[in-house]
Symmetry: C2
Subunit: 123 residues, 2 copies
Amino acid sequence: MKLEITCTRAQADHKQLLNCKSTLNSMESSFKNMTKLLSIAGNDVRLKILFLLNMEQELCPCDIADILDMSIPAISQHLRKIKDAGFIISRREGQTLYYSLVKSETEVLNNIFTTIKSSKKIA
Amino acid sequence: MKLEITCTRAQADHKQLLNCKSTLNSMESSFKNMTKLLSIAGNDVRLKILFLLNMEQELCPCDIADILDMSIPAISQHLRKIKDAGFIISRREGQTLYYSLVKSETEVLNNIFTTIKSSKKIA
DNA sequence: CGCTTATTTAAGCAAATACTTAAATAATAA
DNA sequence: TTATTATTTAAGTATTTGCTTAAATAAGCG
């Protein structure tokens, strides 16, 4: 951790800045994990996929493509990205793959889903 | 809203899919707003900036650049993006600009910050 | 086995991102 | 006014993203 302060502003509270640095430093892996989830969810299509899986328990790529009016490869590539991040899993039933949320990894999303649903009422 | 279902899978519950479509449709603006926030927060640097502003009330670009060990233009461009989205505001004090969170727009982040802080303890 | 269906994967590409460096503003102070 | 400091803006660029189309797997069925 670099400790030098380059800001020459007189008011700069160097102690405060150093404290911020070390706080963030101790949380590095936590930030990495959260950024992973938020960057996955910070896309309109993927947020809707996650929302749908939360609502319907499980869905296949074909269903999602239908609902979102998108091509199946486009959906498949989004699912792959979410799956690679560890937020969904798949189970096969014949030719069909069913995707579902890994609840333990997506608890933060519940609050987000609730907010989406409640702001719907207002707007 | 398109209502055609292209999936030929026998098990596909068309009624369920149509219901999903119309549900998402009624929430479109809500999803748009949430995606805006999550795409802003879904970047390591910006998530840290938001976290820092939550922790310290207000900071100038120079301080943030120091804390995150990044160039001032890089930070300034992130701040601009967050400000354009309406999640932070700035006030000037002489040459210095102080940025702070627009609390009413960033309530969802509180849960995220709490999660970051608590998973720090575990890990 | 071939044929259809469900899905993934790969290749290609336009658009968006996130930096860098250098130049432009803005405010203060000599 | 010129110089200094804080910040923004602009231009350039390498990387990433998110789609498209076409080809490759995988499973079920005649």
